[in-house]
């Protein structure tokens, strides 16, 4: 333990020294010093722990990225919905579960995973439309809208229980993605499907980025985030765009449900677990920010995987601590803008 402690002390001192390098004004900055010192300690700790388990830290990294992929699929829809329509959709976890279950039924009927994920997307997009219709009356009353989505979450969870029962079940991955890949420079294997999930999230991120920043619809959506009234003044039917975003968000959650239902499992309570994770991601990333959702998904996924490996019993505490730490440094999240408090 002694050398460990000495190294830690050195790391702290280096951090303090670095932070005392003159800033633009030439004055020492104690707050920054503390942050750098803490950051240094953290990096040191994580590195030390990772070296301790050797090769397997590669698995931790990949597990973290897989979880991040799932969280990103969830959080991107959530954050889009919030950004444009100002709806906090607490039924997002329910859509995840129902989308996954619908795909499960399709797969059992057709045996085809691709058909299953396609129909899962459509089905959950349909739920998105239903939510849109349900919430239309309450436009602009954020808190009441949120409560309605909470009620919808109860109904969805109960209906999933009624239709698919309480026994955990999962989808079979497509034949192409069954089995494992050897990891480079180590004797370890990693399931192909999990790598595909990472790919899926990257793809979804790319498509979303193209949609938002390279198409007319994306332009309208971004304009709607800034000023809805002006957009409708320009002769655009904002309601249709809202509906489209609901479909998109629902579809993304359903896709996440199919992916999660394949490499994890679908069960009662999964909806809440995934909702909590995506809430943490969205809050840490900054509400309404797609970039934030991506960055925070990776952060939360990696922290969670690391904590589950090294401190299984405290993992929730550590994940949650990350959120608090992020909010302490940036009250509106990593990439967030201040949200009108009276929403």
């Amino acid at each position: 333990m002694a050398p460990d402690r000495r190294n830690a002390a050195v790391a702290t001192r280096v951090g303090v020294l670095l932070a005392h390098l003159p800033g633009r004004t030439g004055t020492p900055r104690p707050r920054l010093a503390a942050q750098v010192a803490l950051g240094g300690l953290l990096v040191y700790y994580v590195t030390a722990k990772s070296i301790e388990i050797g090769d397997r830290s590669l698995l931790v990294l990949l597990n973290g990225l897989t979880a991040a992929a799932l969280y990103f699929l969830m959080a991107s829809g959530f954050t889009l919905l919030f950004g444009l329509v100002r709806v906090t959709n607490l039924a997002h976890g329910g859509v995840y579960l129902l989308g996954g279950y619908a795909a499960l039924s399709v797969q059992q009927a057709t045996g085809n995973w691709l058909v299953a994920i396609g129909l899962g997307f459509l089905f959950s997009g349909g739920i998105g439309i239903a939510l849109y219709l349900l919430l239309r009356r309450l436009r602009g009353e954020g808190l009441r809208e949120t409560m309605v989505t909470l009620g919808a979450a109860i109904v969805m969870a109960d209906q999933a229980l009624a239709r698919w029962g309480g026994v955990p079940s999962d989808l079979d991955p497509p034949a192409l993605l069954q089995g494992s890949l050897p990891l480079p420079a180590s004797p370890l294997l990693y399931p192909k499907f999990r790598i595909a999930v990472i790919g899926l999230a990257v793809l979804a991120g790319l498509v979303l980025w193209l949609l938002l920043y390279r198409t007319r619809l994306g332009m309208i959506i971004r304009a709607g985030v800034d000023d809805q009234d002006m957009v409708s003044m320009a002769g655009i039917r904002v309601e249709l765009v809202f509906c489209a975003v609901f479909v998109l968000a629902g579809g993304l959650a359903g896709t996440a449900g199919v992916a999660g239902g394949t490499y994890l499992s679908l069960a009662q309570g999964e909806d809440n677990r995934i909702l909590l994770a995506s809430l943490i991601v969205v809050i840490a990333g900054g509400l309404g920010s797609l970039r934030g959702a991506g960055a925070a998904a990776i952060l939360v996924g990696l922290v969670e995987a690391f904590a589950q490996t090294h401190h299984a019993i405290l993992s929730v505490l550590i994940t949650f601590g990350t959120l608090i730490a992020v909010l302490a440094l940036r009250p509106h999240g990593l990439f967030g803008q201040p949200v009108d408090a009276r929403l």
């Binding site: 906090t88 309605v148 109904v155 309570g269 909590l276 809050i283 509400l287 993992s315 929730v316």
Partner: protein
């Protein structure tokens, strides 16, 4: 306010509550007393903590179960794991409520509105997972079973009637306490937070501090609710503070109406009745509860209490004075009369 008005406002509900405490155990059957009355009382106490936050301070907290659960777990851990004297445990648990409340408030003090709602939801779900994961202390998934309420001087608090008296008297005390706070300058600061955060800050108050204080006050009620739930169920587990319970509290408050803290008891009664009698003819009770919740939120701003007050305000002549009073007040603030 005239002295006679004040007396009517304070004395009438108190007398009604006392009559209720005496009459209900005589009239109600054992089933009704245990399954409906006592249950809706402790649920109402926990709900009152949320109704206070929503109705007075405008803070929609989904983290009340974290407070509720802290008190319940402190109670269970001290008595069942450590064998500490039950009254000492009760004292610690009841004190744990406001402490946990202050902590939840501290976490969420910099946010408001939707952000606060999400942050407190994260806190509430965190408490659930903490209970489930941190086995050495919380005993994980199974939690604590076989809690025995105390027996004092031959009165067994595991029995229905003594349990009813304890719960009902606590409920009355909680309402009196919350109303006392509402009437104090602190209550005015809470309503300031609800109505106009910026103006509150301009007046020299720190919105963050007021938020923390409001959570602390609500923690008193939530903590006592948690302790009573352990007395009632004889058990506490992560299941008692899961997301279903988080939503249940919000449902209770919304259905009852957050404009007055008493609405929570009304809502708790409605939900308990629905749960008990709907299960006779359908297995999908939760769907029914969820649908009822959605309908109430869609069609009424202040729940059952709001509907009643609205109906009363429409009644001509008889309540003319009340009506004008109510109209004035409901115009003055988005929320409702303060006291």
């Amino acid at each position: 306010m005239r002295a006679s008005d004040r007396r009517r406002q304070v004395a009438l509900p108190l007398v009604a509550a006392c009559v209720g405490i005496i009459v209900i155990p005589i009239v109600a059957s054992d089933f009704v007393l245990l399954q409906i009355v006592i249950k809706s009382l402790w649920l109402g106490i926990a709900g009152a903590s949320l109704a206070f936050l929503i109705g007075q301070a405008g803070l929609i907290s989904l983290g009340q179960t974290a407070i509720f659960g802290t008190a319940g777990y402190v109670m269970a851990i001290l008595t069942l794991s450590h064998g500490i004297n039950i009254w000492l445990a009760v004292a610690c648990a009841v004190a744990g409520g406001p402490v946990a409340g202050l902590l939840v408030g501290l976490v969420s003090s910099r946010s408001s509105g939707l952000y606060l709602m999400m942050l407190t939801l994260a806190v509430g779900v965190f408490a659930f997972f903490f209970g489930q994961q941190y086995q050495p202390i919380t005993r994980g998934h199974t939690g604590f079973n076989g809690f025995e309420s105390p027996i004092v001087g031959g009165v067994d608090f595991n029995e229905r009637r003594p349990l009813f008296y304890v719960t009902a008297v606590s409920a009355v005390l909680i309402v009196v306490f919350l109303r006392y706070v509402m009437g104090s300058p602190a209550g005015l600061a809470f309503r300031g937070l609800r109505d106009n955060r910026r103006r509150l800050a301009a007046l020299g108050y720190s919105p963050a501090t007021v938020t923390i204080a409001a959570f602390g006050v609500s923690g008193v009620a939530a903590g006592i609710g948690g302790v009573l739930s352990v007395w009632y169920n004889g058990a506490i587990s992560p299941g008692s503070i899961d997301i279903t319970r988080i939503i249940e509290l919000l449902v209770v408050v919304t259905i009852g109406g957050a404009i007055r803290i008493e609405g929570a008891f009304l809502g708790a009664l409605a939900v308990t009745l629905l749960r008990n009698f709907a299960s006779d003819f359908t297995n999908r009770v939760e769907t029914l509860v969820g649908a009822a919740f959605i309908i109430v939120v869609l069609f009424s701003r202040h729940g059952i209490l709001g509907l009643w007050l609205e109906a009363r305000s429409r009644t001509p002549q008889v309540f003319g004075a009340l009506r004008s009073q109510w109209r004035l007040r409901s115009k003055a603030v988005a929320g409702p009369p303060a006291r």
